[in-house]
Amino acid sequence: MSYSDLYNDAKLPTGASKAFALNWGLAVLLIAASCVGFLMLFSVADGNLDKWAFPQMVRFTMGFGMMIVMAFIPITIYRKLSFPIYIFALVLLIIVEFFGQVGMGAQRWIDLGFMRLQPSEFMKIALVMILAYYYSWIDKSLISKPQWLLPPIILTLLPVFLVLRQPDLGTAILLLAGAIVVMFIAGVSLWYFAAGLAAVGGLVFLVMYSQGHTWQLLKDYQYRRISTFLDPSSDPLGAGYHITQSKIALGSGGISGRGFMQGTQSHLNFLPEKHTDFIFTTLVEEFGFIGGMALLLIYLLIVLFCVVSAMTNANRFGAILTLGIAATFFFYFAVNMSMVMGLAPVVGVPLPLVSYGGSAMLVLMVGFGLVQSAHVHRPR
């Protein structure tokens, strides 16, 4: 007896009719967000289509096609593949640790010749999948039992540790945040979250409080690094320079912006990483508050469509997976936007669907492929 037999499969769409059951609203929103990306990549390349915009279009088209194909495969198959995929991603992370290519000061890629594979991106989906699998597998009564809490924590900390060693703080934070959200959705008692929060807060307080005392927990240079990390303006010509220039770009846009291709901050190269992590600043500089809010609205609708899909999904694995991927997507843009607005320290997180880059685009489209599959094959 298989898991799927428990559901009334007769109600689920089959064959080509699955195409009509796709979450087309979500698909249109993904296209909209990507189009914003194409426009901005065209602009920051000073009107050069071939530089960034066109390769990005090709990637998105491939990713979109892959998403549709993935939607046709029953969600039960993905559920069964959860564990092998997690193990595969973990092995890739270990391989990158020893044989990886060094790029941007950190060891992140495996060069496969035809493409560069970034296993940490892959792990974002794999971790959400394995945790969704775990919480759809164990009995409801066991969820908040301490011994049953241990496996998901280990499953999370293993990749987080490996990613931190690369070092890639941004991805590690996203992994951890994604895992916590999945556990939250699955129904782990709120007391654990409260306790965890208190423990982390206490530890941070203790570390910071010990500074200057004889029992100081960290070395002096480590404290200096922490303070530069938290407050880049203390280093205005180093780390703070980028944030200052970014805020100037955001602030100079005004309500309606300075016009398409008219942003001086980006076109005169005052912005760092203007086609990747800092692309949002160009958007706001050229299209103003209205442009920024429009993209934020598209993102909000994408999250909302996922949440609605999950709420109407009686399949526990599908629902948790959908919400987990939506949360991962949310963390992408929340961290990126906070960073460029000077609300959070600078960690390398791209703006989803808009920033130039292959790995992130691929991973996101794989994630939305899973969401579509869960949507198509959802029992009500």
Partner: protein, 641 residues
């Protein structure tokens, strides 16, 4: 393996937690939106300004400094193009490599090589570092031709000041030098060109006093730059203007002749054209070379100038003040005549001294002159005669006449440290010394000693006014740009012409009478006679015991204690053209040390046959091509906050 049917409560819990999660996410997006509004809408003006500051740099094209010409239109201060090479680290990956390439084109010493590298490490990456200076045009052309292989290297065309008659004009024209922090701190001049490193401004003399007009106005360009400072396009420009050319009243030939004549002494000589007040010569010896200051004077040279007891840096003609000695006797004589105390024919019996309140006041001739009238008293410089009339006139009237003749008054000349001198009054003594004026003070003033102080310029002016009978003012600048500066004070002196004639008669006899004190210094030119007055001013008071032992001859005294030798004159005596004053510091007697010098300079002036101002060359100058001047960029970037 126990598998349950999906149970309703579990699904509901997912629904509730999903709702909570969505709520949290929406709230956070609200924060992001609020922050966006805060930055882009509320603080928009401020950030827009910062973006503009990022984008726009001000580029200054330094103006060409005005040139200085003499009376005949001879160039005195010129601008010479100067070529140097700068390097900016920001645009270079390996400065060493570029520097080695550069060394193949232009001379760079190993010391300079290391110095440049260390400078580039220390300075901020976008600050240009000067690699080599004083290059030839060939060097610059070679660097420009190889520009693609030399990223970050810029040839710079500037200019430096050259003084063509350095020693002749060191005290008049002065010199320029790079703007220092000290200069900036004491001026309220906010001209942006002052922010250009090494921009040259006047530091002394006319260069400093007429700085504003000489400097001109910089052309200002607003340019758009990218983040590494590369110029993207010109936004707008404000035209500048070259500095104005200046023509001074000095005659280089006469100035040279005057300086030559007083060379070797610590001395000053001033020649004034009595008809218009033009200063034809303003010589102060020793001189110095202002060109050394333009490039930066060495410590050795500087100390040598400072420690020289002849004080070469001082302009003695206007800054040096001396007791005028017997040259003051014209003032006292005129004051007595104007006050009606004497008509000039009354006699005073000189027995070598007078006693006032039991204090003896000596005449320079120990045996006395016997019976003297005013003309004879001037001619033979009888001190007793002047003690007598000074006592009768009183100090207030003497000093009043002195001021009307230009002594003890500050004259408006564009030179630094123009001293006022001193024509003392009772009120002045009370105020500064806290003591009452005494009769003895008046007697001392009567022979130009005591508190009286005059500069050589003032003494020459006095001679000019006595000769011309006008209130003529000294004039050093003839024109600034196209503007001619007016002649001032060409109106008759407020004295009885008969009184002036008596004084002039006395001065004439000083030089031309067989018993005149300067009879040895007559003009040798046919038909021209000079009227003058000698003066010997004591540096140190002669004590009674010294006088008893017999006055020591000047030559036996150490230099610092010898008398100052003075002479003032105008010529020709019947139709005055030029007035002169000469002072030789510690030179001894006026008749021996100063009068012959004055006679020689006066003869030189008379022989020059001045025909008025020579035309200056047209305004087009050698280095005036604006394209040759390399613009200087001043970053308006504010440090990020």
């Amino acid at each position: 393996m126990t598998l349950q049917k999906p149970d309703k409560t579990k699904v509901r819990q997912i629904t509730r937690r999903a709702g909570l999660l969505l709520g949290g996410q929406v709230m956070f997006m609200g924060v992001l939106g609020w922050r966006m509004r805060d930055l882009g809408v509320k603080q928009n003006a401020q950030f827009r300004l910062l973006a503009e500051e990022n984008r726009i740099n001000i580029q200054l094209v330094p103006p060409t400094r005005g040139l200085i010409y003499d009376r005949q239109g001879r160039l005195i201060a010129n601008n010479i193009p100067q070529y140097r090479v700068q390097m900016v680290r920001e645009q270079i990956k390996a400065p060493e490599v570029i520097l080695d390439r550069l060394a193949q084109l232009i001379p760079i010493s190993p010391k300079q090589h290391d110095h440049v590298l260390s400078l580039m490490k220390r300075r901020r990456s976008w600050v240009p570092v000067t690699v080599a200076e004083d290059l030839t045009w060939e060097h610059i052309a070679a660097v420009a031709a190889n520009a693609p292989a030399l990223p970050g290297v810029t040839p710079v065309v500037g200019s430096y000041r050259e003084y063509i008659y350095p020693h002749e004009y060191s005290h008049i024209v002065g010199y320029v030098g790079p703007v220092s922090d000290y200069d900036l701190s004491k001026t309220d001049d906010d001209d942006p060109v002052l922010r250009i490193p090494r921009f040259q401004i006047g530091k002394n003399g006319i260069e400093a006093k007429i700085e504003k007009q000489l400097r001109g106005i910089a052309e200002i360009k607003r340019i758009e730059v990218n983040s590494v400072g590369r110029v993207m396009r010109d936004l707008d420009r404000k035209a500048g203007a070259s500095g104005k050319n200046i023509q001074i009243t000095i005659d280089t030939e006469l100035q040279t002749a005057a300086l030559k004549r007083i060379q070797g002494e610590s001395a000053a000589a001033v020649v004034i054209d009595v008809r218009n007040g033009d200063i034809l010569a303003l010589a102060s010896a020793p001189t110095y070379d202002p060109n050394k200051f333009v490039t930066g004077i060495s410590t050795t040279d500087w100390n040598a100038l400072l420690n020289n007891k002849y004080r070469p840096l001082a302009n003695k003609t206007v800054s040096g003040t001396y007791p005028p000695g017997s040259t003051y006797k014209m003032v006292v004589a005129l004051a007595a005549l104007e006050a009606g105390i004497t008509d000039g024919n009354d006699h005073v019996n000189c027995k070598g001294y007078v006693e006032v309140y039991k204090q003896r006041f000596h005449c320079w001739r120990r045996g006395g002159h016997g019976k003297v009238d005013m003309v004879r008293a001037l001619r033979e410089s009888c001190d007793v005669y002047f003690y007598d009339i000074a006592q009768k006139v009183g100090i207030e009237k003497i000093s009043d006449v002195a001021r009307r003749l230009g002594l003890g008054v500050r004259h408006d000349l564009p030179l630094p440290a123009v001293h006022k001198g001193l024509a003392p009054t009772k009120a002045w003594k009370r105020k500064t010394k806290g003591k009452d004026w005494r009769v003895g003070d008046t007697l001392n003033a009567g022979i130009g000693q005591g508190y009286t102080l005059s500069s050589p310029l003032q003494l020459a002016l006095m001679a000019a006014r006595l000769g011309a009978g006008t209130q003529i003012e000294p004039r050093l600048i003839n024109s600034i740009g196209d503007e001619l500066l007016p002649i001032k004070g060409n109106i008759p002196l407020d004295f009885d012409p008969k009184h002036l004639d008596i004084v002039r008669r006395g001065m004439f006899e000083v030089v031309n009478h067989a018993r005149g004190t300067a009879r040895g210094s007559r003009i040798t030119l046919p038909g021209v006679k000079m009227a003058g007055k000698t003066g010997t001013s004591q540096v140190k008071r002669i004590t009674a015991s010294e006088r008893k032992r017999g006055v020591i001859r000047n030559a036996d005294l150490p230099w610092e204690r010898r008398d100052h030798a003075l002479f003032v004159a105008f010529a020709p005596h019947d139709n005055p053209k030029y007035a002169i004053s000469v002072i030789v510091e510690h030179g001894g007697g006026g008749s021996k040390a100063a009068a012959p010098i004055a006679r020689d300079i006066m003869q030189a002036a008379l022989l020059l046959d001045d025909t008025g101002y020579g035309a200056m060359p047209s305004q087009k100058r050698r280095t005036d091509d604006p394209d040759e001047q390399t613009p200087h960029i001043i970053s308006t970037k504010t440090d990020p906050v």
